[in-house]
Symmetry: C2
Subunit: 279 residues, 2 copies
C-alpha cells in the first residue's frame, strides 16, 4: 500500500461518513501544532506541518533497532523521516546490511520533532567518544520534542549528556553503564521520563515505534498501524529476557557480552571525566 | 558484539566445561551436513559447511519483513547471508530505506540452503509477473532445503509455482489470493508444510527468523538469539490481527488494502492462466 492509496482511502471513508458508529472512544485533545480530525470515525491527530524525524544511522548499528521504528514512522502519513549520518555513503550494519543515509548531520539545520539513536556493538561504543556525533545530538536534543533510542543507542544519548538525571533503559547486557552517564537505569520495554523515551534491546523498537506513533497521532492511528504490521507476536521460545532465559543460556550470553560491557563502561567513564573537567 | 567475540566466548566456555550442569535438555539429532556440538553445555548444530542463505530484496519491499529475519540469520555464526537482486544498485523500500544488494541473482550459481522473499505492496505485485525473478526463484526453490517468505512475499513464491499444493500463509490482507496460486491458505504466525515455511505480515518475520534458526542450529541456539534480541514483546495495544482489532479500525484497514488485494488477485489470475496454457 502506498501513502497515496492510504490517503485516498481515508478521504473516501471520511466523505462517506462510514464507521461513525464505531466503538466508544476517549476524546483526543490536540497538543500545540496539531488538530484532531476524524478519519472514517477514527480520531487522528493531524500535524499543522509534517513532523521531522531524524534517525541517526552509523557503521556497526543493529539494523533491526533502526528498522523496527522506521517502519512505523515511515507508515505515518506526512511525517518526514531522515536517516542521518556524517556523509551520504552507505553505512554497514553489524550483520552486513548496507543502508544509505538520506541527509548529512550538518545539513539538518532545522529543529526536529524527534531524534532517535539505534544501538549496536563496537560501532555504538565508538560513537560515545565521537565529538561530531555527540555535539549534533546535544544540539538537536535541546529543541526536539522527543529524544529517543532503542537498545544500546541510549548509551550514545547518555554520552551526549542527554540523559543526566533522567530515567532510561538500554539493552539488558549494558544497562548497568547508564549510571556512569548520570542516568537512572530503569527496566521496562519502553521507558518514558519527560521527553526522553528509551527502549530495551533490538526488538523493543517495534513496541517503541507504535508507542511513539500513538504519542504523535493518537491511539487509533497506532492501532491501525499495529494491524498493518500484523503485530501479534508469538515468540517460539520464552527466552527474551535474562529473567526468562534458561540459566545456562543467560550465563553464556552474559559472557558473550562481557567485552562490550567493558568497553562501553570505559567510554562512559571517559565522558563522565570530561564533564567533571568542564562542568 | 562481533562474531569473533562470540566465537571466542563460546570456545572459552566449551574449554572450561562451564554450564555442563544446565537444565535437562532433549538430545539433538544431527541432520545430514551437521554435527551436534556442545557449546558451553548448550547443544548446537554445527554445519559441515556454512549455510548459504539467499534473501531476495527489491524496490518497494517492506524493510521490516527483510530485517527481522536478516538480524537473526546474520547473528547465526558462520552462515552466509546474501541480499540478492538483479544488479548491485541500492533498492528502496516502501518507506524509503535504501539497501544495497550483496550479490546479483545471476551470480548466485550454487544451490542455497534457504531462499527467502520479503513482502511489500505494489513492488511485490510487480514481481508476480517478473519472469527473471520468478525463474530465479523456481530454480533455487528446486534445490533449497527451505523455501520461505514473510508477509506478501508468499505471493511471489506462489507466482513462481513454489506453493502449488502446499499450505501457506501471507499478510492477512492478501491471504485470500493464495488459492489462485494453488496454495492452501492457512492462518498462523509461521506455517510449515514440508520444506515450505511462510510467515504472516511484517513483524511475523521475527518469530519466523528464530523458528528457522532453531531448525538450522537447534533450539538452544535460537533461545540464545532470542535473549540477544531481547525478544520479549509488549505490544502497546491489542490490535495485531483482524480478529483482535477494533471493528472500525479493521474495516478502515481493509478498505486501505483493497487496491493491493485487487492488483495481487489479478496478477495471480494471470499466473494461473499461464500455467493452464503451459501445464
Amino acid at each position: 500500500m502506498t501513502r497515496r492509496s492510504l490517503g485516498k482511502a481515508l478521504s473516501c471513508m471520511a466523505a462517506s461518513g462510514a464507521f461513525l458508529d464505531g466503538a466508544a472512544q476517549k476524546k483526543l485533545v490536540a497538543p500545540p501544532g496539531y488538530t484532531v480530525v476524524n478519519m472514517g470515525g477514527l480520531q487522528h491527530l493531524k500535524p499543522d506541518k509534517p513532523e521531522q524525524i531524524a534517525m541517526l544511522i552509523y557503521p556497526g548499528m543493529t539494523a533491526l533497532d533502526l528498522i523496527g521504528p522506521q517502519q512505523a514512522f515511515g507508515y505515518t502519513m506526512g511525517a518526514k523521516v531522515h536517516l542521518i549520518w556524517k556523509d551520504l555513503l552507505p553505512v554497514e550494519s553489524d550483520t552486513g546490511v548496507k543502508i544509505t543515509p538520506t541527509a548529512k548531520m550538518k545539513d539538518l539545520a532545522e529543529p526536529v520533532d524527534l531524534i532517535f539513536v539505534p544501538g549496536g556493538g563496537k560501532g555504538t561504543v565508538a560513537l560515545m567518544s565521537d565529538a561530531e556525533v555527540l555535539d549534533f545530538l546535544a544540539a538537536k536534543g535541546k529543541t526536539a520534542r522527543y529524544v529517543t533510542s532503542v537498545c544500546s543507542g541510549s548509551l550514545v544519548l547518555g554520552a551526549a549528556g542527554l540523559l543526566r538525571g533522567y530515567r532510561a533503559t538500554s539493552h539488558w547486557a549494558v544497562r548497568e553503564v547508564l549510571p556512569t552517564l548520570e542516568a537512572i537505569p530503569a527496566s521496562g520495554r519502553v521507558v518514558e521520563d519527560r521527553n526522553r523515551i528509551t527502549a530495551g534491546g533490538v526488538t523493543a523498537g517495534i513496541d517503541f515505534g507504535l508507542y511513539l506513533v500513538a504519542k504523535l497521532r493518537g491511539d487509533d492511528y497506532a492501532q491501525a498501524l499495529q494491524l498493518m504490521l500484523e503485530y501479534d507476536p508469538h515468540p517460539p521460545f520464552h527466552s527474551g529476557t535474562p529473567e526468562d532465559a534458561r540459566a545456562d543460556i543467560r550465563d553464556l550470553a552474559t559472557v558473550m557480552y562481557a567485552p562490550l560491557l567493558k568497553s562501553a563502561g570505559l567510554a562512559a567513564e571517559a565522558r563522565k571525566t570530561s564533564w567533571s573537567n568542564h562542568p
